[in-house]
Symmetry: C2
Subunit: 322 residues, 2 copies
């Protein structure tokens, strides 16, 4: 906990409308070097040593049915590292390895909230897909982890989180802490475990991702187990469901999921490779500071503030063997 | 500024997954009345007197080209009341009345950020659509309003806003204040005025709406002039652009806008009618408190916190003459 950062903002790039997009011309006396870098430029300049390879056991490749034009739709999800969501993540790997997910579907798309996928027949006992043996049942206490269990080396913390005493980043993930506990937060693109009314009813067979403003009220109430690192547009641009809670009313609207595989189970040549920017490195700290107070061209009033979901951890795909 | 509320969360309804969705059965000794209401239930029980009709001069009806199935796509936008965004809102009404918007298009869809519409030829001086005479040029100072100009009757304020000294609600809108100024905040669905690098370059001819986590770094840097009150799914579910900043690379991907009309210019029978829940009433206060600490079934750990974009002001369509 070296540095306190009160930081800034939403997507990778500033809103630069089409009407006047030329590169700003420095006026006399201004050096080019004096132009503050954008958050994206700061990340692009990160040394290779600050990028951390994501283990293939922590990547899921979800293949949806092709779209109306026949184009493939692939979504890559990074699973959370222990101790967060540990039991559910184990279940998810089991479900993927048993090929239980193959043939399920996206059944719910609620605007500004979540896209959810699972067994479309889950509610019908006679038709529901039986779950494989050996799944763990997770309990209410598993939604948080004692703060002491987390590595005490957070470099970037955000003291002004309305939902906790402090938000912070650790090993590439946004987290929050209060009452001696820590938990992963529901930001855009995070993946969680659907459950029923009782907190021990979510196995990992039904998952969702956030496609709107961070629903932080779900923190500590539902397990966050991962995040989409590529292809979220295949989920976020799906037609919204018109039933209650955004469920598709006609099963024909469901979007079939062909398969979900753990990347380490794929042949070496088919494994996607991803890296995240170390949240313990100097670049990430500069990135969050730049998002807190944007001074790159276009911005006239720095925000002097940030929320943890507005400074997403940069993740990139790398070429084979890269 | 009667009440300080530190509140809670994202969409209208809790995530109630399909796997276990029955209504909870009260156990012996529990009265039905003891079940805390959800935010949606609180709003549904609001007295009619707390719903405020939106003036037809403050509603825009944007008609997109029909979708691939030939279904109509209509988006209704509420313009901000004075003094916020006053000059731009005037320009927008002028542009609509001159029918300048008819035939423009959605040209940009950037995931977790914005959908933007305007003249697809704006960058090509020889082909750009000339703007009507009489538009006002707005300046940097116009992005904020002196806090004293706002009505001092905020009932619900949120003290823990990372981007300001205080967020609050006034006349149905989420706002924030710092340094003696107040400004409308960039939440999901808010509509703003695209501009170039200079703060005085946005006329209202190019507009955008937020389709992701609140990009609060844009507050005080771009003018918020309204919000989508119906049909945002026609924008948020559009295919993401694959060019820089999410612009469509092929003009054939642009989504044509047939027309944008001020509702008061439509024949009485065609005017949509909308109401918002008074942010100065008792129901809105209860709603924000319930979102701050959800105690309705499903929730196990109340958040004890809220951010202003996670407690959107309820808006509803009402029947003709309703």
């Amino acid at each position: 906990m070296n540095t306190v950062v009160l930081a800034l903002a939403a997507a990778e790039l500033a809103l630069a409308p089409s009407i006047v997009p030329p590169t700003p011309v420095p006026t006399a006396g201004q050096e080019e070097a004096a132009t503050p870098l954008s958050p994206g430029e700061i990340v692009a300049a990160a040394p290779e040593s600050e990028w951390v390879r994501i283990a293939p056991e922590d990547l899921l490749v979800m293949t949806l049915a092709p779209d109306a034009d026949g184009d493939p739709r692939e979504v890559v999800i990074q699973l959370m590292p222990a101790p967060y969501g540990e039991g559910w993540v184990g279940n998810i790997r089991t479900l993927a390895r048993e090929r239980w997910y193959d043939g399920i579907a996206v059944t719910r798309v609620q605007d500004n909230y979540v896209v959810q996928w699972g067994d479309p027949n889950a509610e019908d006992e006679s038709a529901a897909k039986p779950l494989p043996a050996g799944l763990r049942t997770m309990k209410e206490a598993d939604y948080v982890v004692p703060f002491g269990q987390t590595r005490p080396r957070q470099r970037v913390v955000i003291m002004s989180d309305p939902y906790s005493d402090m938000a912070f980043y650790e090993a590439g993930w946004p987290l929050a802490t209060r009452d001696g506990n820590a938990w992963p937060v529901h930001c855009y693109g995070m993946v969680g475990v659907g459950r029923g009314y009782s907190p021990d009813t979510g196995s990992g067979a039904e998952l969702y991702t956030v496609i709107g403003h961070a629903p932080r009220h779900l923190d500590r109430n539902i397990a966050v187990v991962g995040r989409v690192v590529e292809g979220i547009e295949h989920l976020s641009s799906l037609p919204r469901g018109t039933g209650p809670l955004g469920f598709y009313e006609d099963p024909a609207q469901n979007v079939p999921i062909i398969s979900i595989r753990v990347a380490s189970d794929l042949p070496e040549s088919e494994r996607p490779r991803f890296e995240y920017l170390s949240t313990e490195g100097a670049t990430f700290e500069r990135y969050v500071q730049a998002r807190t107070n944007r001074r790159d061209p276009f911005f006239i009033t720095p925000a002097r503030g940030i929320d943890v979901c507005n400074a997403p951890v940069p993740v990139r795909r790398v070429a084979d063997g890269g």
